[in-house]
Symmetry: C2
């Protein structure tokens, strides 16, 4: 029986919504059980007495924005305790839809980086034009500016993830850049380019512009966290804008409305292809434990998907695989 | 009679394509004439003898990637000479679909920054969900990392542009950031935030996440060039991906094809809204002269649109307006 520690607090839609995702996941995977951290009185009314749901009362909630010192003082918060349960081997992974900053700080402090990992990073698969070929991108916001050594860690961890979880045989790695030519890129990106060239990594394929990143031909793309976060949110925003324009186009008049009835199947496929919720959230790669950041606004399907990501990481034994990848290079 | 200096070399589709855009523009605006820089033998066959098209032979072409020293040695290049004609007051503005790096270096060196401008920046209006409300964003790639003083220059120039060219009454300025709260953002972004607050600028409205930048509610968004370039290309790429997925959706089967016939009008409107070619390219704001960077792959419509941007900047007397904006603050 595998166990997931769930931070039930701090999400936008509240524990009621997370519960729905949890029950759906629990039904599908009977070999998983859960430790739920949060306000006991609230959780007790939500979850009927059930061996698979263990409830642990905590008195505090980590706010969206938090500095490291404040986090460490909030020892009786649902997030602190959920991470601690992984540290103490009481759970195989932890999931939270709460504060990203808190989860990054707390996991780094409590679980520590894997030996040889310069810095842990937030990683996410991104939908591309090819449904079957998501692109793995990191860091998307744990850091602001990274070093070339951090970027090397991101490359190795991204490869381990793409291999073990996405089942890509020999994932190719690119540096996110403002141009494809050698010599383009941020300061740390250019330094990483030289480092990878010196080390003669065959999996390193040079720079990738943001324009081509989601064309389905790039397996792993690494970047400093600030630029990665801009990339993440720019594509999310553009996807959202395009979706609302598509809706508007079909609602223009009676003819376009009829057009929708005919074209519906094609556009259902488009929605499936671009639906980022199927990826459930981000993975904090590089610490000694499986740590999943579900979207703050996770609904039932979103949280269910994030739990599946957590399960995938546990089943793939990703921490061991990253250790191996880091040692091998 | 106003005059535009045109660099006819270095574009992806060649001078033949630029010519089409030029002729379309020339027909629409009979009060404009042109100095064309490039290989004379080629241009002579393209342009019939016409008082409004003066041809100047140049022997070199600036390559896509060029360092400052190499640019300055290529004095007989079409780009160098075209910029020089603005410096020498022979032309009111210069346009090129060639090397961005060359145009930035050459314009900065030959035209010099406007007094009080810390750094010139590449600026572009971006299509938003609201057709009538483009967002002005700079810098999108002239620099990599900027200082808070640079960001202040960008804010003032962006405001001057949005006021004079887009006719927005009192443009609001935002810092592109990884979070909306104060304290979020890149190092220089956080410093600029404090600077703007100290100076008590009423037009400064805080941080803007990349996700919301193109919602039609943000007038001017400023950023260091590297992040701006990532934003530009991420949105371009996502727009392109969504367009290809829409085409695919309509081509799925016979029903979706019929759907397209009904929905066509709505989707024509969507295409118009998101068509970045209507903006023609980027404006290099902050030097003593009107400098327009047309898209490298400009077709007839794209180059025609870029020429219209050039004309708008000349008619708005943007250099004088920026001088005033910088002095007033």
């Amino acid at each position: 029986m595998k166990k997931i520690a769930v931070d039930m607090m701090g999400s936008d839609l509240g524990p009621e919504e997370l519960k729905k995702g949890l029950l759906r996941f629990a039904e599908e995977y009977p070999d998983y059980s859960f430790i739920l951290f949060g306000e006991k009185s609230k959780l007790d009314t939500l979850f009927a007495s059930d061996d698979r749901f263990e409830i642990r009362n905590t008195s505090e909630v980590i706010p969206m924005e938090i500095d490291p010192m404040s986090f460490l003082r909030k020892k009786d918060s649902s997030m602190y305790q959920a991470i601690t349960s992984v540290k103490d081997k009481k759970a195989d992974g932890v999931i939270s839809a709460g504060s990203t900053a808190g989860l990054v700080v707390g996991s780094t402090f409590l679980l520590k980086n894997i030996d040889g990992v310069s810095r842990a990073g937030l990683c996410s698969p991104f939908p591309t034009v090819d449904y079957s070929k998501p692109a793995t991108i990191l860091d998307i916001g744990a850091s602001l500016i990274n070093t070339k050594e951090d970027l090397l860690s991101f490359a190795l961890m991204g490869r381990a993830y793409a291999k073990e979880v996405l089942k890509i045989e020999d994932p190719k790695v690119y540096l996110l850049s403002n141009g494809t030519e050698e010599g383009k890129g941020s300061k740390e990106g250019r330094e990483a380019y030289q480092l990878f060239k010196e080390k003669n990594y065959l999996w390193f394929k040079g720079n990738c512009e943001a324009r081509e990143a989601l064309d389905g031909k790039h397996d792993v793309i690494i970047t400093s966290g600030y630029a990665g976060n801009i990339f993440l949110k720019a594509t999310e925003g553009m996807g959202k804008n395009m979706s609302s324009l598509i809706k508007k186009a079909f609602k223009k008049n009676i003819f376009t409305k009829i057009g929708y009835l005919f074209a519906k199947k094609g556009f259902d496929e488009l929605s499936r292809t671009m639906d980022y919720k199927r990826f459930g959230g981000a993975i904090f790669l590089g610490v000694n434990g499986v740590v999943i950041k579900a979207h703050g606004n996770s609904d039932e399907y979103g949280f269910y998907s994030a739990l599946k990501v957590c399960r995938n990481m546990i089943e793939a034994d990703i921490v061991t695989k990253i250790k191996k990848q880091v040692q091998d290079e």
